[in-house]
Amino acid sequence: MSETFRPGDADQVCETVAWAAAEERPLEIRGAGSKRNLGRPMDNCSVLDLSALSGLTYYEPAELVLAAKAGTPLSVIETELSENGQRLAFEPADYGRILGNAAGQATIGGLVACNLSGPRRIQVGAARDHCLGVSGVSGRGEAFKSGGRVVKNVTGYDLSKLMTGSYGTLAALTEVTFKVLPVPEKTRTVLVFGHGDAEGIATLGQALSSALEPSGLAYLPAVAASRSTVGYVSEIGTSVTAIRVEGPASSVEARCRSLRSLFGGSDKTEELHGHNSGTLWREIADVTLLGSSGGDLWRLSVPPSAASGVVSAVKAELSPSCSAEVLFDWAGGLIWLDVTGAEDAAHEAVRGALHDSGGHATLIRAPGDVRRTVPVFQPPEPGLASLNARVKQGFDPRGILNPGRMGTDY
């Protein structure tokens, strides 16, 4: 049984990591453990549990800035923000359920470490775009900080970006600072029914290239749509193309009208109001519309115009015993692919399909032995791989922080 250290503050995180570095003892960094199963499995690690580093350290609604210790539950932050009519605009996704854990457990530090953004990423940017500052402890056992509490800041290298999405392989985060934004007065979603994949994605592109400022653009094939708990979506029996608009009431109503007339009028479209709209986008963000069968789940980021072609290419390469379900977000730029029946998560078919278009594929969910052999993250070109390895070396020369989680080298 591996040992768990639960430091109470940033100084104790330093002490623990400095000791681990001296002893060359690998550490698995853990917040709530909700995304423990994301990444290459790590063996023989002691656990560095950051859950005791909890609580808001700064929140000035008028400044649109919030800072919290890394182990603070996201739910605590979201409650606090919502009481002030604000939110994390990149719409944090909760992967708890798809990774076999309960929903609502995630910490803010884990969110930064994994750079998980939801549907609104297409409009307002990713978690990395909203993270203004970080404090952390490098694998050398040294505390450092970067960024600040203001939106506009170019003082020194932007290590906040580097930390975001580094899966704890460079530093143990102790505190993070975010830009927050006001919740708009009204949200509505226009649904367009019955498109095929390519047509649905083209519709999303058309909406995004209009001046109607959509904040969510997803295409749900009929199977995915049928799993929604929103009746208007699940009962229609066809694919659903969903376009969300947010803002002052009068503006939202006018933009919805424009979208509906653009895409076939009231016969072929429907409109979701506040509650239903909220439920649908939560389902899309948290990927609960794909099979709950526990297949291998891939997340692909691609040029939107290539999306339907990439999916066709993957399906063409799958062996007859395999099947795949799919869902498109970010106007087609984000593909969720749930593959069942493959022994190796069909990784050659998936990554091969990206060859011409560019993009990357992350194996979000698969059994541990698959994640040990199939690269979870897109294997980089050799030049980039060695640069990544040197960056890792600069932060964690002894390779003790989440060793191997992003790949065998770092």
Binding site: Q12, E15, W19, V154, T155, D158, K161, L334, L387, G394
Partner: protein, 495 residues
């Protein structure tokens, strides 16, 4: 400003270096005559000048890679340069360094409306990107004041902002991909026509790295559909406190304007005299708020902003009724720097960011400092995001005034940090604020940043003497001091 001691051997080996460079880049692309080099001796921070060892103007990525390899082999340093508009000395040459100009990388390689992006070479100007996609009603969002000349490569290196970044973000939020060449000649591609880079976010690190990590040879930018409508409100206030409250109340009402700019009385008067924008000359503070987006939304929010302005005690209030009028509101603001240049022989432009709430305190203390240093100051402020540009007025021909202006500027930046802000919002550290980094960062913070540089440029050859006040060798930075057997810390919970 003390720069690293030039390497005499490199200077002595200049002829051989130039011969090697001429083997890669065609004749007129290598500049070494004293006269021609003079043109490159400074960037937008004209107070510091240094003639470079040589200037090289490659035309393609392969040549950049070869140039960097040659410079590495000769031990020569390299300073990358776009249009040379840096206000912090980011492109200031080094006596023992080659200035690598990217002006010939001036092509827009691809416009991809379907994926809403454009692939461009780094020497393309910021405005040229928006111009190239204007016919389709698209634009590139970040709009620094120097956008007519400044290049996209320089924008990436400095992570440039502009007046619209509160709503649309700065450079780092608007690029999708980069091609860079490392000092060892290796070419690396980061990101592409898709969202979020895979693996470490090295694109995020490159953006704002001030030419210290790699040479940017290609940029993929996001382009956006132009908003359907933009309207602006011009509000004058009888005192600064009221204008500060107005800005806070607009944000507090949940409104994120496309732009929100403030000028103090000195800047307003200078701008009005320069271009007759119709600004109220009696206002202590002038705020321009621009709302853009869907017409219904813009009209609605304009009404809200007008109401907030009245409530905050505005002494004048005008709302643009036409596109011409909106542009007239902006004309004074956009010309504020040259306008101030007319009322003073020289000015020194500062660039701190502060929490919006600290504005009145900072302006008050700046007025005190102005009296103490005996130099006037005019303020231009990106009020929406807290980015302050005090312009210190001085006369370089008066003995000691430049030094006094620099001292005054340093005091202002320290004040910004003291109230919870930062040294630079968009102009970069460069050489200008290098020695102030200690105000914001501990030695450990700066060492960790330099370890990142070591991953990209282990010999420290790319743009040294900028950003970091003390240079360490990578070997020294990599050393770990291990205290084995220390402790198992009785206070830490373990199970």
């Amino acid at each position: 400003m003390k720069m690293p001691e030039p390497d005499g051997n490199v200077i002595a080996g200049r002829d051989a270096l130039i011969t090697s460079l001429r083997g890669v880049v065609a004749e007129e692309g290598v500049i070494w005559s004293e006269n021609e080099l003079k043109a490159y001796e400074c960037d937008g921070l004209t107070a510091y000048r240094q003639v470079p060892l040589a200037v090289v103007l490659p035309e393609n990525t392969r040549q950049v890679a070869e140039v960097l390899k040659i410079c590495s082999a000769h031990g020569a340093k390299v300073v990358p340069r776009g249009a040379g508009t840096s206000l912090s000395g980011g492109a200031m040459p080094l006596a023992d360094g080659v200035l690598l100009g990217l002006g010939k990388f001036n092509k827009i390689l691809e416009i991809d409306y379907e994926n809403r992006c454009a692939v461009v070479q780094p020497g393309v100007s910021n405005l040229a990107i928006s111009d190239a996609v204007a016919d389709a009603d698209f634009y590139y969002a970040p709009d620094p004041s120097s956008q007519i000349v400044c290049t996209i490569g320089g924008n990436v290196a400095e992570n440039s902002g502009g007046v619209h970044c509160l709503k649309y973000g700065v450079t780092t939020n608007n690029i999708l991909g980069l091609e860079i060449v490392l000092m060892n000649g290796e070419t690396v591609r980061l990101g592409g026509k898709y969202l979020d880079t895979d693996g470490y976010d090295l694109m995020g690190v490159m953006t704002g790295s001030e030419g210290l990590l790699g040479v940017i040879t290609e940029v993929t930018v996001r382009i956006l559909k132009k908003p359907e409508m933009a309207r602006a409100v011009l509000v004058g206030f009888p005192d600064l406190e009221d204008s500060g409250r107005f800005v806070a109340d607009v944000i507090g009402a949940g409104i994120i304007p496309g732009g929100m700019e403030m000028m103090d009385k000195a800047a307003t008067r200078a701008a009005e005299e320069f271009c007759q924008a119709g600004y109220p000359m009696d206002a202590e503070a002038l705020v321009i708020v621009e709302l853009d987006g869907h017409a219904t939304e813009v009209d609605y929010l304009i009404g809200q902003v007008e109401e907030i302005a009245r409530r905050c005690g505005a002494s004048s209030l005008r709302t643009s009724q036409s596109e011409d009028e909106r542009l007239a509101f902006w004309s004074g603001r956009k010309a504020a720097f040259p306008a101030v240049g007319r009322i003073s022989p020289d000015y020194y432009c500062m660039d701190g960011t502060i929490p919006r709430g600290a504005l009145s305190e900072v302006l008050r203390r700046m007025t005190e400092m102005s009296a103490r240093f005996g130099l006037r100051v005019a303020n231009v402020f990106h009020a929406g995001d807290g980015n302050l540009h005090p312009l210190i007025l001085y006369d370089a021909n008066q003995l000691g005034e430049l030094e006094t202006a620099e001292e005054f500027g340093a005091e202002i930046l320290k004040l910004c940090v003291e109230v919870g802000g930062v040294l630079t919002g968009e102009h970069g550290v460069g050489v200008e604020k290098r020695d102030l980094m200690g105000e914001m960062f501990s030695e450990a913070d700066l060492e960790q940043q330099q370890r990142l540089k070591c991953a990209f440029d282990p010999e420290g050859s790319l743009n040294p003497g900028k950003v970091f006040p003390i240079l360490h060798r990578c070997a020294e930075l990599g050393r770990m001091h291990i205290h084995r057997g220390q402790l198992p810390f009785p206070d830490i919970e373990r199970f």
